[in-house]
């Protein structure tokens, strides 16, 4: 049943993405930026999905520290890994967009720098987990680190409001003048990314379950 549901969600995400690509390809080019502007339909949804993953990791980490239940630790690590992939896609698409519009691949402005720091912090979280053998200590240290790493998330989101940045102000949901069907395409792409994120997180959660089974089998093997 769980497998079927996962398959249906994954298929729905893929169908939605394929449909969105066709719809977006049919939109006219933006007057000033031309075709490259259409990258926004992926750049923004992956960023939002990544920030959602960071929020879910925070909830998982706090819940682990409160309950000491390892299923919350598994949720935190799974969702962090998926969020890291989304944030990498966001950084790369942003860099390519910047190369066309600004003429540079990268600039150390507040939004770009805080997003890169966010990626590095969560990559550090995964490295920290690899460095600690004992499961309880690993989960505790990782949860504390994840809560610390989340401090960067509001900085990423509000950096364009707090400081003057090369990165523009938000186009969607930020007072920009975007046609209604473009909004709809962005919302549907966000929905597709969220579905994809859920499928990948559940797949990763199962690996955590498998890892726990391995740990238990190892203990049994050593007990002989």
């Amino acid at each position: 049943m769980r497998d079927k549901l996962l398959f249906v969600l994954g298929a729905a995400a893929m169908v939605l993405l394929a449909r969105n690509i066709l719809v977006i390809a049919g939109f006219p080019n933006e007057a000033n930026q031309g075709a490259i502007f259409k990258i926004i339909f992926f750049h923004v949804p992956v960023a939002m999905a990544a920030m959602g993953c960071a929020a879910a990791a925070l909830v998982g980490s706090v819940m682990f520290l409160l309950t000491r239940n390892f299923k919350y630790d598994a949720l935190a690590v799974s969702v962090t890994e998926v969020g890291l992939a989304f944030l990498a896609a966001n950084l790369v698409t942003g860099s390519i967009w910047g190369r066309v519009i600004w003429g540079i691949w990268w600039t150390w402005d507040a939004r770009l720098t805080s997003a890169l720091v966010c990626w590095l912090l969560y990559a550090g979280y995964l490295m920290l987990r690899h460095a600690i053998e004992e499961p309880t200590q690993r989960a505790t240290f990782a949860a504390v680190f994840s809560i610390f790493a989340f401090i960067d998330v509001p900085i990423v989101i509000f950096s364009i409001k707090w400081w003057r940045t090369q990165h523009p102000q938000p186009v969607f949901w930020g007072g920009g003048s975007i046609p209604g069907d473009w909004y709809l395409a962005a919302v549907l792409n966000l929905l597709a990314m969220v579905l994809l994120g859920i499928v990948l997180t559940v797949a990763r959660l199962r690996q955590e379950e498998a890892q726990r089974e391995i740990d238990s089998l190892r203990r049994t093997a050593h007990a002989f």
């Binding site: 080019n29 259409k38 992926f42 797949a203």
Partner: protein, 65 residues
């Protein structure tokens, strides 16, 4: 009235081509990252299943004390 020279038209066509090229790079890169992550998950899943199977076989093969 604004007149466009053949040079202007050629420059605009080049800009559009350049734009499409970078749009395709961006989308390809984004998808490659996600596909690479999915492949990593699949490979890790296979390794974990193999390890579980070998540990189970090891436990079953041991004579009970």
């Amino acid at each position: 009235m604004l007149q466009l020279s053949p040079d202007d038209i050629a420059r605009e066509a080049q800009r559009l081509q350049h734009n499409y090229e970078f749009l395709s790079y961006g989308l390809t890169a984004a998808w490659l990252i996600l596909v690479a992550y999915v492949l990593m998950l699949v490979s890790r899943h296979r390794k974990l299943q193999e390890e579980i199977a070998s540990l189970r076989a090891m436990i079953e093969d041991r004579p009970a004390r």
